[in-house]
Amino acid sequence: MRTLDMIGCGETVRVVAVHGGGPLRRRILDMGITKGSDIKVENVAPLGDPIEIIVRGYKLSIRKGDAVSIEVAGGE
């Protein structure tokens, strides 16, 4: 299973599922990271974490530890 934290800079992937539950999952979904949406990994913070992604045309930063629950496909 590929998850968002494994994706390199500049790659675009499609969301397969958002795992987990509670406030974190809700927040991820609320921000538009839903099944079928495209995510481009745009940038990585100087210290390697968090990452900056583009989803639904806007920029979002997310910690790698939280990105683990976003299952993605494609982009290789």
């Binding site: 539950g21 538009g32 100087p46 900056e52 806007y58």
Partner: protein, 707 residues
Amino acid sequence: MSEIALVGNPNSGKTTLFNYLTGSSQKVGNWPGVTVDKKAGRLKGHPNVSVVDLPGIYSLSPYSPEEVIARDYIMGGNLDAVINIVDATNLERNLYLTTQLRDMGVPVVVALNMIDVSRSKGEEIDVKELSKWLGCPVVPISALKREGLDDLVGETIRAIGTEQPVPKVFQPKVEEAISAVSAVLAGSEPDGLLRWSSVKLIEGDEAEREIHADDLAEIDPIVSSLEAAMDEDGETIIIDGRYNHIAAMVAVSVKKPDVEVVTLSDKIDAVVTNRWLALPIFFAVMFVVYYLSITTIGGWGTDWVNEAVFEEWAIPGAEQWLTDMGVNDMLVSLIVDGLITGVGAVLGFLPQMLVMFLLLAILEDSGYMARVAFVMDRIFRRFGLSGKSFIPILITTGCGVPGIMASRTIEDDRDRRITAMTCSFMPCAAKLPVIALIAGAIFNESPWIAPSLYFIGIFAILFSGVVLKKIQGFVGTPAPFIMEMPAYHMPNARTVAISSLDRLFHFVKKAGTIIILACALVWFLSAYNWSMAAVDVADSMLADIGHAVSVIFAPLGWDNWMATVATVTGLIAKENVVSTFGILFGLEEVSEAGDEIWANVAGMFSSGVAGYSFLLFNMLCAPCFAAIGAMRRELGTWKDTALAVGWQCGLAYAAAFVFYHFGTLATGGGLTIGFPFAVAVLALLIWLFARPMPNPEAGADEGVVPS
């Protein structure tokens, strides 16, 4: 009298629009129970319409305090209309909240903001089409350029009291389930909220399930058969449904240019968050913030207020004037030394604070603040702090009062509170004379004393972050760090000015009184004896109290009444520690580092270790009253403020205690009686730090993601 609310995502231009709509009539307060600002005012040109600015939110989920406030307020049923401000350059995510609002039975007017930016990117938005899909008026505006605002006000007034068609955003299967749940609920909810409640129940919303606990037996089968049919959980079905609907709506109503324009914001971001350039740029920006607010403009202003206005003008002037009027000496002293000095303690901070607030507002308004969190997050989050905690900590090395107030920019309640509680561990400028005094008197002006205290300060902050984070219920639950990186834009002068003045005014209002009273009390205790005769501090009530309580500092190695008195007067302002020693040793005036009394001070302490222990305690214990007042402002309640000060004093005591006994052993002073206790305290501190995270209350049943 009608009431409308302004609702929208963070960074959608909400504040700018609110400032325009309400002009000078706005009032800032707090939402009950939380430290989230509540702003309200009268609609320009319509004095019988009040406008409430709800916190910036992305969704009406029940998790963050901001979302709960907005949700409760809209559901409260007193609203006549909602203006939903939507960022035209970021339609899909912004319209998500719109689709939620449309379910709540309140007339909505969509203010399509930043339409000028959207046009300049070559996008064409079909406003009529959008309005048809949403079932409510959509008015294109530019809050910054003040375009379309009259239309917006007109549409809003017209919308009051209307019934808008509710768009069916979900696919038929889901809409059927919503109708089925609504049928069960009919009668138990106001008609307007029927659809909202039904949707929320399908999502499995805890708050809504509690309200309708009696109907769950009928509702749960409807929801589970829908979940089975769609092979998804209810929450996913609803959120996916909204976003799919929005994607379809945007595909029809927005014409994007064939070639995506690379905006200036993208170009700036490519440089500013570049892997190699981000840190140097970050430190350069931080240097400018510090340099302007502490070293130069802000510092000059504060010096000017303290010296020119108070020391040279207000204090002697008032003294002269009152004496000329024939006012009783004691009263003159109370007014001048007690009250006016206290007022000075409040007003003196304002120039520094104003400059800092202006800079913070510019950083926030321009979009850079989100990058600060992005760059620094990795370091700070391990310690229960936010990347944005860097700014309060940095500013505190100049002055703790604006430093604590700078924690305001941290959205997450928990991170903000921990930062406000701990950033004053850093040595501020007023603590430097105390350091210089001890370093000069006892350590032969060793250059290692001051840097050691900065390291201890940082260590104490990070240590406290970890420890406080683990105390359940003390600092609330963490919000997930999933943060928008808003597009950069030129900060708006008016927004920046209003935001800075608001914050300044709030400091004076919330913190001012207590600072003045506390300063007056300590002054009173230090200027009078028990029979109310004016005396030197050495014969005052405070000296007697010092004699009585100094024994509690014996375990720290400095059972000395003068050191105790100096510690107490340090609460008015830390540099007072030096001048108090001066007075206690019989000098009228001492230089800033107190060279004249070095010999006396050295004689007070039995060893260098004891002197450093005194210094350590004074650096870490409760900050000055002004900083405590600022903390009260940020934490919201006296209880939390007392807990914060208690933690600071407790940690200061523990640190000085452990240091003294281990230090005495290490410097050949042998084993002290207290040594076993020092070992125990050290073990306790290590345990507090290293113990595993207690399970958050909600963790077990809500299935928080395992990390």
